[in-house]
């Protein structure tokens, strides 16, 4: 039954089998692909984010004319928090569609291609470290270069960023969203509007400061 459903899904993905046959004969469908030949074309682009120093300040229905003076303090949860602390215990994982067992490369996209050395099998828990039961050596960064700490902080920051984006999206037209209520699973001071592109430019210290703020 399962096979039939999936075969139908394959068939439906083409406009008609007749078109498929024509396509087959014209293009020689599957080719003897040269090892390493690119089957996917990648174009990188970076989104931009801006807002006030709170969740409510980042919602489009915010009518307050008060302008925050000075830079906002970025405040998120630490790698430990995501493993065993507040973020984990309040199940913030449910809002980001990843788990500790998810591929680390899925979180970082094309940044993973340029940063990891033969480590596509690394999981998020491996970057977050021992507290998550992870194995940092799976990042393939080599020993002693200190870059494991940087990726631990980047990973926590990326998770914080995803939660922030979820909060803004969820509460955009929903004043009764859980994050604006008294039972919010995040701290009142949680504020993490950094994009992934911004996270990748930050030093380990800057990320650690932001991640450990709550």
């Amino acid at each position: 039954m399962s096979d039939k459903k999936e075969l139908l899904a394959l068939k439906d993905s083409h406009s008609s089998s007749e078109t498929l046959n024509t396509h087959n004969s014209r293009r020689g469908f599957f080719k003897k692909a040269a090892l390493g030949s690119a089957l996917i074309t990648t174009i990188s682009s970076r989104p931009v984010w801006a807002g006030q120093c709170s969740l409510s300040g980042n919602l489009s229905n915010n009518v307050s004319s008060h302008e925050h003076e000075g830079p906002c303090d970025i405040k998120g949860y630490s790698p430990g928090g995501w493993c065993r602390g507040h973020a984990n215990n309040n199940n913030l994982w449910q809002y980001i569609a990843f788990t500790k067992e998810s591929d680390l490369s899925a979180l970082f996209g094309s940044y993973a291609l340029t940063s990891f050395n033969q480590a596509p099998i690394a999981k998020i828990k491996d970057a977050l470290g021992n507290q998550c039961g992870g194995d940092g050596s799976k990042l393939g960064l080599g020993s002693g270069d200190g870059s494991g700490g940087l990726w631990r902080q980047r990973t926590a920051a990326a998770l914080n960023s995803l939660v922030w984006q979820y909060m803004v999206t969820d509460c955009q037209n929903n004043p009764s969203c859980v994050f604006l209520g008294n039972n919010s699973p995040v701290d009142d001071e949680f504020y993490f509007p950094w994009t992934l592109a911004e996270i990748m430019t930050k030093t380990e210290l800057a990320l650690k400061t932001a991640n450990n703020a709550l």
Binding site: L7, F29, I40, I43, P120
Partner: protein, 92 residues
């Protein structure tokens, strides 16, 4: 090489149909990729189902009976690796 498990579409990825394939957009990293036919079929399949490599190959062989099974298998394995490295798909 990716560890054994079930493949699924990266939840951060949106798909848009194009004439000769699909465009994928990662809403977090901002990456945009173009996936040509016939591999777009696999990406769309993984949008609704979590499947093993073996299952994907078996489905492809059944779907394209006029193609050489070994050639299909090699192409798909190579594509899955590249798609995972590009964060289009991930193991669940």
């Amino acid at each position: 090489m990716h560890c054994k498990g079930l493949w699924r579409l990266n939840p951060l990825v949106n798909i848009r149909e194009l004439n000769d394939g699909i465009a994928t957009f990662n809403t977090f990293s901002g990456d945009t990729q173009f996936v040509e036919q016939p591999f777009d079929v696999i990406v769309k399949l993984l949008q609704s189902s979590a499947l093993s490599t073996e299952k994907i190959i078996a489905l492809a062989i059944a779907h394209w009976p006029d193609q050489q099974p070994l050639l299909i298998a090699d192409n798909i394995k190579q594509f899955l690796t590249q798609a995972a490295d590009s964060a289009i798909i991930m193991t669940s």
